[in-house]
Amino acid sequence: MLEAARCPNGHYHHPPHPRCPDCGDVPDGRIDLAERTATVVTWTSAFATPPGVREPNSVAIVEFDLDTSDDGTESGSASDGRSNDNSPGANDDGENGAPNEGGTVRAIGGLTTDEVAIGDRVKPVYVEQVRAPGAGIREPESQGWDGYRFEPL
C-alpha cells in the first residue's frame, strides 16, 4: 500500500503525518495510491550513492491527480485499504469514487528506468526491498525497506 492520509478538511499527504501539515487536524482517512497513475514532476539519476543503495539510483517526485478516475481503479484501491488496519475514511473514499475535488498528492520513489522525462505518466510497482537494511547509518528496525518504484506507462 502506498498510503496517503486525508484530514477532515480534505487535505491529502504522503507520507501520513500524525497531524495534518496544512491545518493541524488529526487525519481520519487513508487512501492507497498504489493502483493509481501519476505524472513525473522532476527526476534525477544519482551516482556515488551511499551504502545499501543501487548505483545509479534514478528517483522521481511524482504527482497523483486524485480527481481523475483511472478507469475506476480508485474504488479498487480503496477496498484494498479496507483489508489493511484501517479506518472508515478509506471506505468512504471507495463509496465516493473521486476522493476529493481537484486535489493532488505527491510522492517520491525510485524509477525502474532512467528513460523518463518531466510530464511522463508512471505507475507504482511494488519492490520488496528498495534499499539494503543495515548497510547505512539508520537502525534497520526503525523503518520499513519495501516500497514502490515508478514505471513509465
Binding site: S45, A46, W145
Partner: protein, 382 residues
C-alpha cells in the same frame, strides 16, 4: 539592545589532521586572542555542530570546548540545525545578548568529516531525511538534482548558467587563504566533470571538509570597551520548510529562505536593494539561484540570467560569495554559517584583502537540509 560582533576567526578549511575538539579550540582560541577578550569574560559558549557523534563518536563537544579554552563555569550549549547549525548558533548568540542573559557570548562552529569516505559522509548527512526518502536512497545531492532539473525546465535556463556559479565561486576562493580549493576552473571543466545527480556534475557540489569558525558577541556598550572595529547584527530570523521535500508546492522555492529573510529584513529595516554583499549557501550551484530569488534580489526564474550578466561577480552590483562560498571554501557543516558571517564581518570592516568589496550592509543565508531550516542574518557597519 543592539547586538554586536567584536571578534571573528576561522581555521583553514580542507582535509585536516585535527579532530573536532582540536578544530573547535583552534578557531575559538584565535577568536578570543584577536578580540583581546579574556576567557573569564565569556558568560555563554555556543557550539554549532551537526554530527560529531555520528562522524567521530565524540559527543558533548560544548563541554570539551569550555574546558579546553578555560571557560568553565560558563553556560555551554551545542546547537544543531544540520547544515544550518552555524546560522542557528548566530541566532542563539544574538538571543543570549539581546535578552541580557549573557554579557559576552562565544560561538564556535565546526565539523570533522573527511576521515569518512564520500559514501559514508553522504549517508550521515542523508540521515536527516524522512524514512520514505531514506529508503529510496535519497541524498542531499539527489534533492539538488531533482530541483535543478525542474528549475532548468521551468525557466528555460541553460545548463551552463549553473556552471557559471561554480566558476565564479572558485575564482573568488583563489584569494581566500582559508579556502579548501584555491584554483580557478573553466565552464568547460565544470560541464565535463563526472555526473553526480543528473543534470548536476561534480563541480556543482561543495566538497567534504574539516574546519571551524568562531564569532564573539556582546552589546554595543561592551563592544566599545574593547574596540572600534566591530559590526552590528541589524536583523536575524530563522524559519523552517517541510521536512519531506516532495510535500512542498514548488521544489524550486525554499519557503524557509522566503520567511526567514522577510522577518530579517523587517527587523533590520533594510530591504534586498540595500544589501551590498551576500554569502549564500551554495552547497550546490542550484541553491545560489534559488536563494538569489527567494531572498528578493531578483525575480523568480531570473537568477540564471542575472548570474550570466555578472550581477553576482566581485565587481557586480551584488557580489555573492566573495569568500569562495561553500563551493570552493568548503563546507564543514556546523562551521559554514559561522564562516559566512566571518566573511561579511571582514567585508564590512574593509579587512577582506584582495577579496574586498565596498560594503556597509551584508547578508548571510545559511540553509539546513534541502531548505528544511534556514537562518538569514543581516549585518551592518556601525
Amino acid at each position: 539592545m543592539t547586538v554586536c560582533i567584536i571578534g571573528a576567526s576561522m581555521t583553514t578549511f580542507g582535509r585536516r589532521d585535527a579532530w573536532i575538539r582540536e578544530l573547535l579550540a583552534e578557531a575559538g582560541g584565535e577568536c578570543l586572542d584577536t578580540a583581546g577578550v579574556a576567557p573569564d569574560a565569556i558568560d555563554h559558549l555556543l557550539v554549532s555542530n551537526m554530527a560529531s557523534g555520528e562522524f567521530e563518536g565524540q559527543t558533548g563537544v560544548m563541554n570539551a570546548l569550555a574546558h579546553d579554552l578555560g571557560l568553565v563555569p560558563a553556560y555551554a550549549q551545542r546547537v544543531d540545525q544540520t547544515s544550518a547549525s552555524g546560522g542557528a548558533g548566530i541566532h542563539a548568540a544574538w538571543q543570549s545578548i539581546a535578552s541580557g542573559a549573557s554579557d559576552m557570548t562565544l560561538l564556535v562552529g565546526g565539523e570533522k568529516m573527511t576521515h569518512r569516505g564520500t559514501p559514508e559522509a553522504t549517508d550521515v548527512i542523508a540521515s536527516i531525511t524522512h524514512p520514505v526518502e531514506y529508503k529510496h536512497g535519497l541524498t542531499l545531492p539527489s534533492f539538488a538534482g531533482l530541483a535543478a532539473r525542474q528549475y532548468l525546465h521551468a525557466y528555460d535556463a541553460p545548463r551552463e548558467s549553473l556552471a557559471r556559479v561554480a566558476v565564479k565561486n572558485h575564482a573568488n576562493g583563489v584569494d581566500n587563504p582559508h579556502a579548501q580549493f584555491r584554483k580557478e576552473i573553466t565552464i568547460e571543466e565544470a560541464m565535463e566533470s563526472p555526473m553526480v545527480a543528473d543534470p548536476l556534475r561534480l563541480y556543482d557540489f561543495c566538497p567534504i571538509t574539516d574546519g571551524s569558525a568562531a564569532l564573539l558577541f556582546c552589546s554595543e556598550e561592551v563592544a566599545k570597551q574593547y574596540t572600534d572595529e566591530y559590526v552590528r547584527v541589524a536583523g536575524i530570523a530563522g524559519a523552517t520548510d517541510t521536512h519531506v521535500v516532495h510535500e512542498r508546492g514548488d521544489p524550486t522555492t525554499m519557503g524557509g529562505v522566503v520567511e526567514s529573510s522577510r522577518r530579517a529584513y523587517e527587523r533590520s529595516g533594510y530591504g534586498p536593494e540595500e544589501v551590498d554583499c551576500a554569502e549564500l549557501h551554495d552547497m550546490f550551484t542550484i541553491l545560489e539561484f534559488l536563494q538569489l530569488e527567494d531572498l528578493g534580489f531578483v525575480e523568480k526564474g531570473r537568477a540564471w540570467e542575472a548570474t550570466e550578466d555578472g550581477m553576482t561577480e566581485r565587481d557586480g552590483d551584488l557580489p555573492v560569495n566573495t569568500s569562495g562560498g561553500l563551493k570552493s571554501k568548503g563546507h564543514p557543516l556546523g562551521a559554514s554559517g559561522v564562516a559566512q558571517v566571518y566573511e561579511i564581518v571582514h567585508q564590512l570592516l574593509g579587512t577582506a584583502g584582495a577579496r574586498g568589496v565596498d560594503a556597509d550592509v551584508g547578508l548571510a543565508c545559511n540553509v539546513g537540509g534541502f531548505g528544511n531550516c534556514v537562518t538569514t542574518t543581516i549585518v551592518e557597519a556601525p
